[in-house]
Chain length 192, copies 2
C-alpha cells in the first residue's frame, strides 16, 4: 500500500512502480478486456486520480509497461551466422514459441487490443519482439552480404512479418507456425 | 421496436435484423470499445436475453455483421491485366483509401480489437478486404503466368500483406501508405 499523503519524488517513484506493477499483473491475469483504471488503482493501493495524473488511459499504461519490458521480458535477438533465411527462422521460432502456449497467444491478442486504443502500444509491440532493433538490422545485413536486392524495403519486410504473426494470433483456431516459417524462407532464401 | 411477445420465425427474423442493424450502427458511431450488449439491446428494442439466445458475445455479433457485409460493404476486387505487381497495387490502393479517412482507420482498428476477442472476426476480416477471394487468387494467377516462383506461399503472402495493413493502422501517427505499396512492388515485380 502506497501512502497517498506523502509528497515529493519518493512518493511518486513508489506509486509509479506500484501502478505499473499492478497493471502488468492484472493484464497478465485478466487480459486487456477486463483491465480498468479502477481495478489497477485498487490493486496498486492508490487513488484513480493518481493514475490519471500521469497516464490518460489504460492503453497508455500498457504502452509504458511494454516499453519497460514488464510484459514481454525476453530479448528476441536475431543471430548472424551469415545465412539470412536461417537466422530469421531462428528468431521467428523463438517469437512463435510464445504463441504456442495458450497464455502467450492471449497475451499477444491483448497487446493488439491495447494497440487499437493507444498508438504507443503499437509502436512498442514491434520493438518488444525485436522487429526494429534486431530483425530489420539483420535484413540490412542481408542486403550488405548480397543476399537481398539493394532496393529491398527493409522496414516494411519487418512489419509484414510482424503483421503475419499478428494475423496468425487472431485466427487462433487454425494455429500453424510452419506457414510463417515458409513465408520467411520464401522472402529470404537465395533465389536460383 | 420489435414485439418481444410475438413468436415463431417472423419475430426471429425481424429481431435478428434489428439486432444486427443496431450492432452495425453503434459500432460505426462509437467503435468497439464502447459497444455493449446492453446498448445493442436498447438500440434494437429487444431484451438482452434475446441477443444472448443467439450470440454469445459482442465479438460474435461483429463477426456476423462483417460476414454479411454490414460493416465493409465494398467488394475489393483485384483486377487481372496480366501485370501482377500493378494489379495488386490497384487493390492495395483501394483498401488503403479506407485508412486515409480518420473514420476508416478507426473502423479497421475497431475490427482488429473485435478480432482479438472473437476468432470469427479475424477470419472474416481478411475475407471482407478480398484477401482470400481475390488477392490470393490473383497471386496464384501470377504463379501460372510465371511471374512468381511455383513454391511461392500464396496464402501467407496474402496474410502478410493484410498484416502489414493492420500494423499500419495500429501506428496511426505515422501513416504512410506508400511504404506498403513499395512492399508489394518488391514482392510481386519481376526480378531482373
Amino acid at each position: 500500500m502506497v501512502n497517498e499523503h506523502r509528497s515529493g519524488p519518493v512518493r511518486s517513484t513508489a506509486a509509479r512502480e506500484a501502478i505499473l506493477d499492478a497493471t502488468a499483473r492484472l493484464f497478465h491475469n485478466q487480459g486487456y478486456d477486463r483491465l480498468t483504471i479502477q481495478g489497477i488503482a485498487k490493486e496498486a493501493g492508490v487513488g484513480k486520480q493518481t493514475i490519471y495524473r500521469w497516464w490518460p488511459s489504460r492503453g497508455a499504461l500498457i504502452g509504458e509497461c511494454l516499453a519497460e519490458g514488464r510484459l514481454i521480458p525476453v530479448d528476441f535477438v536475431v543471430p548472424d551466422t551469415g545465412d539470412l533465411a536461417a537466422d530469421v527462422e531462428t528468431w521467428l521460432r523463438s517469437v512463435l514459441s510464445i504463441l504456442e502456449a495458450p497464455e502467450g497467444g492471449a497475451l499477444l491478442r491483448s497487446l493488439v487490443a491495447a494497440a487499437t486504443e493507444d498508438a504507443g502500444v503499437g509502436a512498442h509491440l514491434g520493438e518488444s519482439l525485436g522487429v526494429e532493433k534486431y530483425l530489420t538490422e539483420r535484413i540490412r545485413g542481408g542486403i550488405r552480404d548480397g543476399q537481398l536486392p539493394t532496393d529491398a524495403p527493409v522496414e516494411q519486410l519487418g512489419r509484414a512479418i510482424l503483421g503475419a504473426i499478428i494475423v496468425e494470433s487472431l485466427g487462433r483456431e487454425h494455429h500453424d507456425s510452419e506457414s510463417i516459417v515458409h513465408l520467411t524462407r520464401f522472402l529470404f532464401s537465395p533465389r536460383s
